[in-house]
Amino acid sequence: MTTATTTTTRRRRPPVPVLLLIPSVVFMTALFLWPLVVGIGQAFLGEDGPTLEFVRRMVDDPHFWPSVGNTLLLLVVLIPLQFAFALAMALLLRAKPRFSQVYFYLWVVPLAVSDLCAGLVWLAVFTDQGYLNSLLDLLGLPTYPWLSFASYPTMFLAVLVAELWRATSLVLVIVVAGMQSIPRDYEEAAEVFGATFWQRLRHVLLPQLRPSLQVALILRTILALQTFAVAQALTGRDFPLLVGETYQWYNLLQNPNVSAVLALVVLALSMGTAVVYLRVLRDRTSTEARP
């Protein structure tokens, strides 16, 4: 038995995966590693040698710390909401309601919507003379300057709602695709044995969905750290986010050096979370792969 397994593993010679990986490695090295090296140079090399001048300029900018805070706050609030929402939507579809195909179509429309577009769409809702205030006015309620600089909570709410609307579809599609591969038999069996809905969700469906959820989690976290055009379209620079600041420094202030430092901050945040996720993911899957 054991000899049979070892021969099959030995038949998988290393050159095959290497050949399969070479195109992507070459491509990514040319288009990522090289620019990354140049970018690090831009961030830390001044006219006369290594310098921290650009780091200092970044930190001294009054928008910097708010943008760090906003980016992290958005991430921490958005991701759990988004996954709960996507999971609820996927479960509704799995219950096979009538018109489920129509619902699915309408729910995945934001999948093809850019964050710039989402910002513009929700601008029509939240702007001072927009549809939300029009509705409040028609109902005889007082209107509110949702996107005003003086009203931080509603600015945050507007960005949060727009992002929730736009990016949940991505999670939904991954979860639905994952659910498709889960046979209903398990749930039905659990139901026959008297498991409640929550028990079935917790102990039958979610464990089998874990690979899909992990993919979605990594993707969404890294993308959420790079959010900027939503806030840009809704609030301009009143609700600064890290990548938005990078854009400001590069485009408007014409300073690629500080912009490179800011980009490295986002990179550090993304890599930090990615490494944590990857470690957790790998440990769990490897222990489960060998029962």
């Binding site: 992507s24 831009q42 429309v109 934001p110 919507v113 702007t127 991954i174 990548v243 690629p256 490179a260």
Partner: protein, 287 residues
Amino acid sequence: MTPADTPAPHKPARAGRGRGARWRAVGVQLACLAVTAFMFAPVYLVALAALSTPESLNRFPLSLLPTDVSVETMASFLTMGGVLPAFVNSLIVGVGTLVLSVLIGLPAGYALARYVFAGRDAYQLFMLLTRALPIVVLSVPLAQLFLTTGLYDTTYAVILLHTALALPTTVLITSAVFVGVPRDQEEAAQIFGATPVQAFVRVVLPQALPGIAAAGLFTFVTSWNEVLGAAILTLDRRTLPAQVLSTLGASPLTYRFAGGFALIVPALVFVALMRKYLLSMWGTTLR
């Protein structure tokens, strides 16, 4: 087969829960409608804004029903220089990115899913690192490189950038897809004399196709939605989002609503086209 032929143990259970099941179906419908309202209301409202006359958009409160329908706002947006060519550029870049990233990413995803080899973790970390890299940090040096090679301000430049952006995602998704395809069947096919390539094409690919379609979809959408890099790497050959972003600064609200609508219409069409494809792929869940 009549209902009477169904296995006996199921019948009392189903009959006993008949009313509960009906209430549950109503609840599910109501929840679906609530989600649909949230997901679709913004689309309706931006369409309403973009298809109203500029004068009616200056009134307050705005009408929530289409009372002043006009193409005036949209027409003035679409006839602005560069908007239509930008739409074509977006299409070219999106399709180019999809093809290139699936061609390069699929083998890598398969390798990650099927083989244990030295450097596997390093490769995965490398891919995550590249995915985590903010686009500005590579766009600026890339603009320099493309300027010297004559690729600057072409759709090829943007295709290369977007493929670099989308490739790690493609590899991640396809590898997750291939993990989901049982290895036993592939090995069985090889035992019965299929070459590895034949086993892959005949056994693995059909099962992996829905996931690969999803990966392709995400790739296209990633490219379609990318604003910043496209704006930096091009001047005249802008993609649609880059075009809208670059002209956004000093534009009136009506222009922004029209821009939002112009960006969302292709999205609606795109998902509608993909819908049949996706539903035939994912039909098991949704039928």
